[in-house]
Symmetry: C2
Subunit: 105 residues, 2 copies
DNA sequence: TCAATATGTAACAATTTAGTTACGCAAATA
DNA sequence: TATTTGCGTAACTAAATTGTTACATATTGA
């Protein structure tokens, strides 16, 4: 069952886990230690994130180092990207800049 | 209960509704006609989208015209934006362009 | 080898989700 | 006015979600 990415990020705890694992690898227990929730609950959240590719796991001895792989957020980004004209000014500026500077395409 | 946006877009039917209402206003019944699902089910999806601000409703006689307000996708966009370095090349180009052209800040 | 550690998973319960049909009501229309 | 239309909502059900505790297992270390 390849989990749906939109479904995976619907849970706030899972978003926190992604944030936590974006810049660093951590064993499952260390992740769980950061939450006011049982370890098995976190273990299952990580499993869901892993099943949809948002978290990859490297096994090392008895530890399983997890880290986020935001590549799979692409689907979400692409969907929201259709509504980019509603983004904030910074992103509008980005687009304007590209328009004036588009020599790479 | 102000619905959570991430939760709201987790459902594929609701994402379809947003897509459908992004460029046009439609009465609830017309939206429902596009789905293989009962009208009350669609009505509730629209209610959820309305409660989190993703769909606004203009009442006109006995019809309720719905249209998408992607402004509220901002929260999703902002969260995924942290992982922009994993975006596709087009967006990478956007950033590069801003970097070379940043006189407005 | 034996105990501690790291982790997954089963079993269970509570809650939420998502759909259905039935019904109610206001607005439009014949 | 009587009927049709557009739509919300209640009542119900089935399934999924999310948490818990208890237990199993593999790895590490004393």
């Amino acid at each position: 069952m390849p989990q749906d990415v939109f479904q995976a990020i619907a849970d706030p705890t899972r978003r926190e886990i992604i944030d936590m694992l974006a810049g660093q690898s951590m064993p499952v227990n260390d992740v769980a230690a950061n939450f006011d929730m049982s370890r098995p609950a976190i273990s299952r959240h990580i499993k869901i994130l892993n099943e949809c590719g948002l978290v990859v796991i490297r096994k090392e001895g008895r530890k399983r180092y997890c880290h986020a792989d935001p590549q799979k957020l692409q689907e979400v980004i692409e969907w929201t990207y259709r509504y980019r004209k509603f983004w904030n000014e910074k992103l509008d500026a980005l687009e304007a800049a590209l328009g004036e500077n588009d020599q790479s395409q």
